[in-house]
């Protein structure tokens, strides 16, 4: 119900929303939770395991019960905490984990079965028969378990990711955080103040309390206004700091106010210093049926009354073990709500309030059906019962130590507070202030906040005038530890995961006595809860059951994130194409225009083939393109190959060190094939090396290894040979390069370049500058097809025009463009290798290039390549295969066996790496590796492939069966 009075809501702005389809009204400033309480909704959820009806339990992100689904469709958000959802016009929220509804849930049968569903239930029940697990148990459990569901549609939500940097990050903007931020800001520090709530103030917005002679919330508002005017302060509301990481890095989730196109931002905040002022979380007491809707934390109830002017009932009983009970009763009476009992667990407590008071009482049971109707308590050895539809309880406060523990430190047990406090120095550069370090009075919070702010600016060497600490309430926190009131029924410790006192004692009995084992056996403190509500009480019960102290029992590990973070926020920008950006060549549009399907090569997109009218299968296009190149001329964009420009007096010596062969012996105007090894002696990459000048080389890498080779070259230079005077840069993007291949290629280029390209000046493996249409281009007479061929490179801005010109000329000569499929077929016909063959486990010896390893110089990989095991004749060696039986199929990845040998791994003799149908030879060719392969030319082997159930008898042949003498290439 809604109370009179102002609170911090705007009664002039009514907001209509629905919960489970029913219409309600709330106000601007409400959360979904306060609006539901205002509308008299009591049951908002069903519990995780037993499907018990549950009501709103807290007023913050620690809420274990009121998890709801927001919206429907692609943007549907499950497991939102009603306590942190800002109300907006038209909001549609739905209960979850219930069928058909949270009011009437058929799954509640689980509650009757609860004697069988205790701790370890899954482990004990679903053991046998083994075969049932995958087919029956797991699907059923997965169906029944869990809370809200995703829509299964692609999300349309938009998030961002960003970095922020500051001198001081203040986490939490209660009285302590505000003072820390102000103090640091006045000293000139660059401050970020992050607050999870929509407004600053923390508990000041929830309590009836004065700061500096005005209402606490008004003081906080004035502070907010003051900080907002300071240029060196960034105030970030709706921003939860979720994790503390190395070197002052923090993760933070900012949610924007509802109705914006952007949902929010996942921040990585880098701070020189941090102040943890995250406050504290009130803890429940375990007693029988303490989970009944209507039972609520006392601090939360005060927040609902004072900030939002709502109360979940009109007869309230209050149960506490500190002065929190009295404070709650005062606020209730001031709001005109009837209080049926104040039950104080402290026997020596006194009371001057006009309500029934029971010192030394302990609530032991709750009554009612779906909602609370009565409260029973033990007082002076008698059980008494009072009527109540709300029970406000407080078992004391737990400082929010979480972020102080994210780097592995454990908190320290404080006997006087009966709570864990953060360990000094737990996170480098982090200091603590306020309730997060166990300072529970407002005056202590303000003072410790100012002190922490001063300390961090001192650390940073900044000087500023001290800020005055305002006057405020200074109570003394007197608490009688109380975790569990014995009784017959189930007493909940962890509401979110449905873990009771019995479960924890059962875990102890079954010897899960370590706190980490107990957690996993019972699921206490798992998942988003991370022990926010239940941690200390569960530890206390375990400590009792095992006869240890709480300090000795210790805590479980606090892990990030402090509040749930949507994957969509952390991965913002990485959906779809954002996950793998596209790199296009300069001929991309022309290729698309010709209907070429694209194939991805790393991030590059390259044309597979260029279909012509009437071609219905890629093989038709591919075979035609191969014949076109071999008979006439073809054009292919090869710009994606890595290009690295190497210059300097020691350029040649540097390349000698990188490649197995002698690049220093290369003449200016010539190109040489080169092989690079890793230091362990295996092949890393191959490519060409063109000598453009005495001190100037251009080397190419394979498309896939371009980045790796660049890194490797930087390593070789900076780490291994810094003495060499050489510089290099990637120019892959700067040059567009096209292969012009086929018997007509010379004629075509002579026409384009208007110059003679006869063998005399332009023999095989020549290179040099040429000019076309006023542009200086580079021409390389190299061939990956085995034909008379050239590659011509122009600055990338001229690429598209040159491609169009080359293709037009080729088409006039019965030629045209060719794609990756034809390129691949031709290199397989020629037995040229790619990364299918140099896959990281092959040596120069394996691919038959041991002769390219110079013995006249040192090079990377030389020593290790000489190991006997890498030069062993028994190794699998590079060969080609052709089918000779009735089955003509070869499959890449298939393994090779001697004909008649049993197909077991001991008899495995090799494998196939590349396969293509050769239109020139008229049969399928396989490339692969076969033990002692070079000595077995002419022998038969059997290819076996289990996935397709295929077996093919093959003849071992030498690679490069098409034009083995290479006459066409040199022609």
């Amino acid at each position: 119900m809604r109370l009179d009075g102002d609170g911090l809501i705007d009664r002039t702005r009514r907001l209509a929303f629905t919960f489970d389809g029913r219409k309600h009204l709330g106000f601007e400033g409400d959360t979904l939770a306060s609006a539901l309480i205002g509308a008299g909704v009591k049951v908002v959820a069903r519990s995780f395991k037993y499907h018990r009806p549950r009501g709103i339990f807290t007023a913050g992100s620690e809420e274990p019960n009121a998890l709801v689904t927001l919206g429907r469709g692609p943007g549907q958000e499950p497991n939102a905490r009603a306590t942190t959802v800002e109300l907006q016009e038209g909001l549609a929220a739905y209960g979850q984990n219930a069928w058909p509804s949270v009011e009437f849930d058929l799954m509640a049968v689980n509650d009757l079965l609860s004697p069988f569903l205790g701790a370890g239930f899954y482990y004990k029940t679903f053991m046998w028969p083994k075969a049932f697990w995958e087919k029956l148990y797991e699907p059923v459990i997965r169906q029944a378990a869990g809370l809200g569901a995703l829509s299964r549609e692609a999300s349309t939500e938009r998030w961002e990711r960003a970095f922020a940097h500051c001198d001081v990050l203040v986490i939490g903007a209660g009285p302590a955080g505000l003072m820390a931020a102000w103090t640091a800001a006045e000293a000139g520090a660059d401050v970020i103040l992050a607050e999870e709530d929509t407004r600053l103030g923390g508990r000041l917005n929830a309590e009836v309390e004065e700061v500096d002679g005005q209402a606490g919330s008004a003081w906080a508002e004035a502070m907010q206004a003051r900080l907002r005017t300071m240029e060196n302060v960034r105030v970030m509301t709706r921003t939860a700091v979720v994790g503390a990481y190395d070197q002052g890095t923090f993760g933070a989730l900012e949610r924007l106010e509802p109705g914006r196109a952007l949902k929010g931002c996942f921040w990585r905040i880098v701070a020189k210093r941090a102040v943890l002022a995250a406050g504290a979380i009130e803890r429940p007491v375990a007693f029988s049926n303490n989970d009944r809707p209507g039972v609520i934390m006392a601090g939360a109830l005060r927040a609902y009354i004072n900030r939002w002017r709502v109360c979940p009932g009109n007869r309230v009983a209050v149960f506490a073990n500190s002065d929190a009970g009295h404070q709650t009763v005062r606020d209730l009476l001031a709001a005109g709500v009837h209080v049926s009992a104040l039950i104080d667990a402290r026997a020596d407590a006194a009371c001057d309030l006009d309500v029934p008071f029971y010192a030394g009482g302990q609530v032991c049971d709750s009554g009612g059906r779906k909602a609370l109707e009565s409260v029973s308590f033990l007082h002076r050895d008698r059980i008494e019962t009072v009527q109540a539809d709300v029970l406000a309880m407080s078992g004391g406060w737990n400082p929010s130590v979480h972020l102080s523990c994210h780097m592995g430190a454990r908190p320290v047990w404080d006997e006087g507070l009966a709570a864990f406090v953060p360990r000094e120095g737990a996170v480098p550069g982090m200091r603590y202030a306020g309730a997060a370090m166990g300072m529970f009075s407002t005056r202590e919070c303000l003072e410790s906040g100012a002190a922490a702010g001063k300390a961090v600016v001192d650390d940073l060497g900044l000087n500023g005038a001290e800020v005055p600490v305002p006057k405020a309430e200074d109570g003394v926190y007197q608490i009688k530890p109380l975790w569990h009131v014995p009784g017959k029924g189930r007493a909940w410790l962890d509401f979110q995961n449905d873990v009771t006192v019995k479960d924890v004692t059962l875990a102890a009995q079954e010897n899960f006595t370590s706190v980490e084992h107990m957690k996993r056996y019972t699921t206490q403190g798992m998942a988003p809860d991370q022990g926010k509500n239940s941690n200390v009480a569960a530890l206390a019960v375990l400590a009792d059951a095992t006869g240890r102290g709480i300090a000795e029992t210790g805590t479980t590990t606090f892990r990030p994130p402090y509040v749930p973070v949507p994957i969509a926020a952390m991965g913002a920008g990485a959906q779809g194409k954002g996950f793998s950006p596209e790199r296009f060549t300069t001929s991309h549009d022309a290729s698309i225009g010709r209907g070429a399907p694209m194939i991805e090569a790393g991030l590059w997109y390259r044309p597979s083939y260029f279909p012509k009218a009437g071609e219905t299968h890629w093989r038709q296009s591919c075979d035609r393109e191969v014949r076109m190149v071999r008979d006439h001329v073809g054009i292919c964009d090869v710009s994606t190959l890595g290009k690295i420009d190497v210059q300097g007096p020691d350029a040649a010596a540097f390349l000698d060190f990188l490649y197995t062969n002698m690049m220093s012996a290369l003449k200016v105007g010539r190109v040489r094939y080169g092989l690079m090894l890793r230091e362990d002696g295996h092949v890393m990459d191959d490519g060409t090396c063109a000598r453009l000048g005495e001190r100037h080389f251009l080397v190419t890498t394979t498309t896939a290894a371009a980045g790796q080779v660049m890194r490797h070259m930087e390593f070789a230079h900076q780490v291994l040979r810094p003495d060499l005077d050489v510089r290099f840069a990637s120019v892959t993007e700067q040059w567009a390069q096209f292969a012009v291949a086929g018997p007509m290629s010379r004629a075509l280029l002579e026409d384009v370049l208007k110059q003679d390209l006869a063998n005399g000046d332009w023999p095989f493996m020549a290179c040099g500058d040429v000019r076309t249409k006023g542009v200086t281009a580079r021409l390389f007479r190299i061939s990956f097809s085995g034909e008379l061929a050239y590659e011509i490179a122009v600055p990338a801005r001229h690429g598209a025009a040159l491609f169009d010109q080359l293709v037009a000329k080729a088409e006039a000569m019965e030629g045209g463009p060719y794609g990756m499929e034809a390129l691949n077929v031709m290199r397989i016909e020629k037995g040229f290798i790619t990364h299918a063959e140099i896959h990281g486990r092959t040596t120069a010896f394996d691919i038959g290039m041991q002769g390219m390893m110079s013995d006249r110089k040192d090079f990377i990989g030389k020593a290790m390549a000489a190991r006997p095991g890498l030069m062993d004749e028994d190794r699998a060696q590079f060969v080609a295969l052709k089918p000779v039986g009735t089955v003509k199929e070869l499959i890449a990845g298939a393994h090779l066996f001697a004909p008649g040998a049993e197909v077991v791994s001991e008899n495995d003799e090799g494998y196939i790496t590349s396969v293509a149908f050769s239109p020139m030879l008229g049969h399928v060719i396989g490339l692969g590796f076969l033990e002692r392969g070079r000595a077995r030319i002419g022998e038969h082997v059997r290819m076996v492939e289990h996935l397709k159930g295929s077996a093919t008898l093959c003849e071992v042949v030498a690679p490069g069966g098409f034009d083995p003498e290479g006459g066409r290439m040199r022609g």
Binding site: F163, E714, V719, P722, K862
Partner: protein, 87 residues
């Protein structure tokens, strides 16, 4: 995690490529024995405490750097250019 690039200043670790222990700086001379090469290429200590390793500022200036850090506390104690460390 933040690494202090001697050229660019302190940067997020996502800008760097990690390449293992800085033993890679000490490449054996040509003709060194099999044991020296085996140690250089394959053997790595797994210290609890201070260690030196190589990082490549791939999304930054392209410098290989030698970072001294503590594997237990995660403290980063300093960084120098590999080029200087190697000289």
């Amino acid at each position: 995690m933040r690494l202090p690039c001697p050229i660019c200043g302190e940067r997020d670790r996502r800008e760097f490529y990690y390449a293992g222990h800085a033993v890679a700086l000490e490449r054996p001379q040509e003709g060194a024995g099999a044991e020296a090469w085996d140690y250089y290429v394959h053997n790595r200590d797994n210290p609890c405490g201070e260690t030196r390793d190589l990082w490549f500022h791939e999304s930054g200036c392209g410098a290989w750097i030698v970072v001294t850090r503590d594997t237990a506390s995660h403290a980063v104690l300093g960084a120098v250019l590999a080029e200087e460390a190697a000289r």
